[in-house]
């Protein structure tokens, strides 16, 4: 069971004052939350690295959280930024087994649906989402993806490029 938004917001506010114990609890909760958040949207063996990367950003950008605002939308913005950055870097993954979805297991499904990675994907044109899904998330080559989705290889590349650009521009979009 992952802590709810109000609890995490309280822990974060305490962490900003230097409370080590609150921060330890918060990091543990964020770690669990992020692992679910990234599931299905990144190959399994890369999740731990991406979670650490995101926690590092959380740590460096601790001041950017305003205690008067909800916590999870802030964490989701950091996580989305890190995810898009990761997709840009990854050219090929060698593992394609994906886990269950984030929103289905989340204790706050309404919030989860609004801030999820699936939500971002839903704003992309289907051809761009498909190209990114196949190449950047499932790890197919351009040729394999082209064969799987029926787009030409150059179109797959163009769709990935345009799709990632769009994702980068909608990190805070609900």
């Amino acid at each position: 069971m992952i802590a709810d938004d109000a609890t995490m917001a309280r822990l974060m506010a305490l962490s900003q004052t230097g409370d080590r114990q609150a921060y330890a609890t918060l990091l543990a909760e964020c770690q669990k939350w992020l692992q679910r958040f990234y599931a299905r949207r990144i190959v399994r063996h890369q999740i731990d690295d991406l979670v650490q990367d995101t926690l590092l950003s959380l740590h460096r950008k601790l001041a950017s959280y305003d205690p008067d605002r909800p916590f999870l939308p802030w964490l989701a913005a950091i996580a989305r930024y890190r995810w898009v950055d990761h997709l840009r870097k990854v050219y090929r993954a060698d593992e394609t087994i994906l886990e269950d979805g984030f929103s289905a297991e989340n204790p706050e499904p309404a919030i989860a649906a609004r801030i999820s990675l699936d939500r971002m994907f839903s704003y992309l044109p289907p051809a761009q989402a498909r190209a990114i899904e196949l190449v950047k998330i499932q790890g197919l080559t351009i040729a394999e993806a082209s064969h799987a989705c029926g787009q030409s290889q150059s179109l797959v590349k163009v769709n990935i490029h345009r799709g990632l650009k769009k994702l980068a521009a909608m990190i805070e979009k609900e």
Binding site: D48, Q52, L56, D66, R114, I115, E172
Partner: protein
Amino acid sequence: MIFMHPDPHQFIDDLLDDLRPTRPLTLQRGLVIASGSAAAAIAVMALFIGIRPALIAGSLDPLFLLASGLFLMLGIAASFTVIGMSRPQVGNTHIGWIWAVAMAALLPLTAVVLGFANQGDAYFHSQPVQGMNCLINGSMLGLIVGGALTIWLRRGAPTSPEQAGLLTGIAAGSLGIFAYSLHCPYDGIYHIGLWHSMTVVVSAIAGRVVVPALIRW
């Protein structure tokens, strides 16, 4: 400096060891910094360049008021957006500044339209020598605002560093030329529409190019 670690427990311990009390980047603090830096730009202008006598005497040109007001509002809108962008959150929207840009763009647009209507002598009427002074001094004064907002952004977490840089430049240019317009003795539409607006454009380009490289995640 903390790095990613193969052992997650060690990684968490490193983060805990590095924890320091930090002041949140609240909206109020951001607005104080933005308005403080704009006030500093005006103070520098008043001290080293001087407010134009006509303004001190209370002689106000309608176009001066209108144009200065537009640049001030554009600077406020852009600063407000930069502050918002430093505090990311899914659900945030950063589009209000576009309307302020559209309104301020009426100044150069008017100058261009009138210039064409008057057989293209807008440049001659724009006081180009003084115009260069406005461009240079307005941009220099804008550095005070731009510097303050950049330092703020570096502490924040803008998810679109490029847009944050562009808006930092727009805020710096708008508030810089607003400060300098309190000195500039020319109130003609050609002068304001071309040279004062160009200060914002040049600052926006500079912000877009320079600021993203200074933001670290």
